[in-house]
Amino acid sequence: MPINYYIFLSVALFCIGVAGVLTRRNAIIVFMCVELMLNAVNLLLVAFSKMHHLALAAVNANAGMNAQIFVFFIMVVAAAEVSVGLAIIVMMYRNTHSVDVNFLNRLKH
């Protein structure tokens, strides 16, 4: 497949994720939208990996593999982030009984 398709697909998914972050107030959903963004990136990376592999396979049989490893690390990190993130959300819920990101609004100006 031409790489363009993947680029635009990923960018579209990414932007949907961004729009989600912008429009939702539920902290968990917002966070999920961030995960969506990460997945868009993952997809893009894999596509690029295959692109580079195709172009450079003659020189380097492992060309493009690094991006897939990168994706693997992104998943790892995302997992760690999720655990911390959810812990924070839960902590907030325990204190305020709300997961609305705008509920706590004491810090401003």
Binding site: V18, L22, L107, K108, H109
Partner: protein, 631 residues
Amino acid sequence: MSKLVYLVPLFPFIGFLLNGLLRKKLSKSLISIIGCGTVLASFVVSLLIFFEVKDPSFQTVVINLFDFINVGSLKIPFSFQVDQLSILFLLIITGVGFLIHLYSTSYMHDEENQHFARYFAYLNLFVFSMLILILGSNYVIMFVGWEGVGLCSYLLIGYWFKNIEYGNAAKKAFIMNRIGDLGFLIAVFWMISKFGSVNFAEVFSKAPTTSVGVLTGITLLLFVGATGKSAQIPLYTWLPDAMAGPTPVSALIHAATMVTAGIYMIARSNIMYTLAPTTQTVVAIVGLATAIFAASIALKQNDIKKVLAYSTVSQLGYMFLGLGVGAYTGAVFHVMTHAFFKALLFLGAGSVIHAMHEQDIRKMGGLKKFMPITHITFLLACLAIAGIPPFSGFFSKDEILAAAYEKNPIYYVVGVFTALMTAFYMFRLYATTFLGKFRGTSDQEHHLHESPSAITIPLVILAVLAVTAGFLGIPEVFAKDSHWLQHFLSPIFEASTKIQEVHPANAGMELTLMAISVGVAIIGVIYAWSKFSKDPDLQDASGFGKVLANKWYVDELYDAIILKPLNAFGKFLNNVVEKNVIDWMVNGIGRAVQYSSRQIRLLQSGQVGGYVLLMVIGIVILFLVEIFIKK
């Protein structure tokens, strides 16, 4: 002897220091001795130098004391110049000055000890400054004295400092003088840029090769200086107000010496004026205008000193007329005679005031019998100023008028008309004061007496001079080579006379002119005598007289067109521009920062969604910049 000329200003300066610093310690008699003695010493030294200068073989002497300012090519030495002109003025200043000092010892005797000392210190300082002015061998040293006398004038006018009015008069004098001084200074700068020097010798030697335009500019600016110091239109208004000072001060500074500084300066620079005919015309016209204008005001004044003040302004106008028409000798001659008779008039008036404690002539009258010496000397002086032969005023005034006729008959006509007014108002003054019945209070009458000898002796000496000084310059018509003064001063005006030959009118014409002016003066005297000797008009002036009595409302005019607008402008700057424009702008920057701070921090809405939105917008903008603006 002329090498010792620095002693002449030094003595009064020592007197100033002694009297000034030890004013609380010295007794009045000691103060008097220091004050008078130093001036007398100067007079003696001047006299000695005079005898040296009188010698026909005498060459101008320049004594370099030290380098005053020496920057690059500009060299201004602190040096004195002794020649015929300066020695003549030295004699007048120290001579008349000494008499007035002497007079003052009695006149000011009622002052407190320290103020008495202060008075003499000022007076000595004045003499010192005046001597510097006269002796300076370049324009800067002249300017040093020029401003110095202005300062002393200021100090002495405001001598009675408790009185705010006097203070205002002093301030006015100083500031008016400063306006003139600015003109003087700019002329000096012009000279520096054109001639590279301010020394008389160099300037005068380079003047003939300089363009007329430049000379006209320089001389006009110098003349601006002269109008300030010598009270000419438009800067004359300070002089009548200056009468706030003690009367001897008026006599010394505001009649005999300081106000003639302008005449001296122009006489000194005669070559430049001669080379700039336009300026000469201006000088003549301003002088003439001042003469008639001041005389017209004097007609209706009732303050004894004010009349004399306007008369001084008017006479100074005469002198400028003389300078303007090239009669430099005549002008200097008139300075001298005027110094004698005007000092006498003022001192006489002082004597009257001393006796009456009153300055309004409407409240005097009949003083003849109470103060005989004062009366006689005053009468002589009046005759002298009125131009009645053979008193001194006749000779000097006539010389100017004759020269004026040569230049332009209209000058002569106006001059003669002024002479008429002069004769009239002087005798109005004389008659109202000394003739008729006494109009003061009985209390005053009780105390009336002739002044003490310290006052009368100067009066008598001056009277003798006022009567006889004219014979120093007997016109050619009467006797060949009899004009001693012209002869004496000829080295000074040599260059000018070469360029601008003063054609002596033919003898018949000159005699006719003299006859006319004498006749006119006599008419004025007689008319005034008849009108005021028995029953003077004591009503407040009305109609046109009121305009004259109010000095043509010139002070009010200046107030309205200069002072008030300037003050208003200053207020405007201070209250509006400073506060509402500049400060507002400066503070406005601060306020703008504060305001934008308050607004921008609202971006910090506290909502994550808002933050992310702004971030995304930021990203979009950066992309747009990258895509569209870059390159």
